[in-house]
């Protein structure tokens, strides 16, 4: 997979919640990590993991892959989609482990 020079998107509501929910020091780390990710998804600082999602679900979602990385320790993580043909990374959630677990598992 080649994700160089991908552009990062989110929906406007989530953008506000990232700004609101992430403590400022984590926001800086998050921005730094997204910057690394946009250039190189295998950047050593990311420990990025591809989530195991079936082709059927990916088709429904209209995306190619689902990923996650930890922003800080195990508390805060970021989940995002990638769309190869449009060179897009779409952040779908940022939150601590409990918040995300409650929402997605």
């Amino acid at each position: 997979m080649e994700l160089n020079e991908y552009v990062i998107f989110t929906n406007s509501g989530l953008k506000e919640s990232i700004e609101k929910n992430l403590p400022s020091e984590l926001r800086k780390i998050f921005d730094k990590k997204m910057g690394y990710f946009a250039k190189n998804p295998y950047h050593p600082s990311l420990n990025t993991k591809k989530c195991n999602v079936s082709d059927k679900t990916l088709k429904i979602l209209g995306v190619d892959e689902v990923w996650e990385f930890y922003i800080n320790r195990r508390e805060y993580r970021c989940i995002f989609y990638t769309i190869f043909s449009e060179k897009k990374i779409i952040i779908i959630e940022v939150g601590n482990h409990e918040q995300i677990k409650r929402k997605y598992s």
Binding site: V7, I8, F9, T10, N11, S12, K15, E25, I29, D31, K32, K33, M34, G35, A38, P44, S45, N47, K49, K50, C51, N52, V53, S54, T57, I60, L61, G62, V66, E68, Y70, N72, R73, R74, I79, Y81, K88, I90, I91, I92, H97, I100, K101, K103, Y104, S105
Partner: protein, 188 residues
């Protein structure tokens, strides 16, 4: 008038930090490589978990991994002041740190010093090469000698690698995004 006193964070002077570590290394394992690597890992772990610096030391990214910046002249000065002895690579303390180290600091540092001091020097060098801080500073070992930014310490997720939880997502709950409502995320 009521004045509010704020508790000042403890910060090691470089020489005290070196003496603190050397006093906790076994004589047969007390060498320059061990000292430098333990100093780096312990300080970056402290930064990672506590979010503040531990010492006034800066760390440089060289071929041998992360080291205390200008450690050689610092050690020579300490030798001249009879704080340490140097015999080739072996460095031993002759004194304890001047400052009194708070209990909450030493209780955090001592197990970490013990942990990293147990590792062979080659393992410590490899481990420091694999840190994000080192890789970013050297641009994957292309540029050597730069100072490692202490602000990179929060990226070192390996300090809690045993705690990392695998991706646990119920794919049926993943949201379908409305592509028309996407906004570009600006990285500051």
């Amino acid at each position: 008038m009521i004045t509010k006193k704020t508790k000042k964070s403890f910060l090691f002077k470089i020489e005290d930090y070196i003496l603190y570590i050397l006093n906790r290394l076994k004589p047969e394992k007390s060498d320059k490589i061990k000292l430098n690597k333990v100093a780096f890992f312990v300080e970056f772990a402290y930064l990672f978990f506590k979010g503040k610096p531990l010492s006034k030391a800066q760390y440089a990214a060289i071929d041998n991994g992360a080291v205390i910046d200008s450690y050689d002249p610092i050690l020579k000065k300490m030798q001249k002041e009879k704080k340490i002895t140097i015999d080739g690579y072996i460095v031993r303390p002759l004194k304890s740190p001047d400052a009194t180290i708070p209990e909450e600091i030493s209780s955090f540092l001592d197990p970490l010093i013990q942990k990293y001091a147990l590792l062979d020097n080659s393992v410590l060098i490899n481990l420091s090469h694999s840190t994000d801080s080192y890789k970013i500073t050297t641009d994957n070992e292309k540029i050597m000698g730069r100072i490692i930014d202490k602000n990179l310490a929060p990226l070192e997720t390996f300090f809690c690698e045993n705690e990392v939880v695998e991706c646990e997502i119920d794919e049926n709950k993943l949201p379908v995004v409305d592509k028309k409502k996407l906004v570009r995320y600006g990285i500051k």
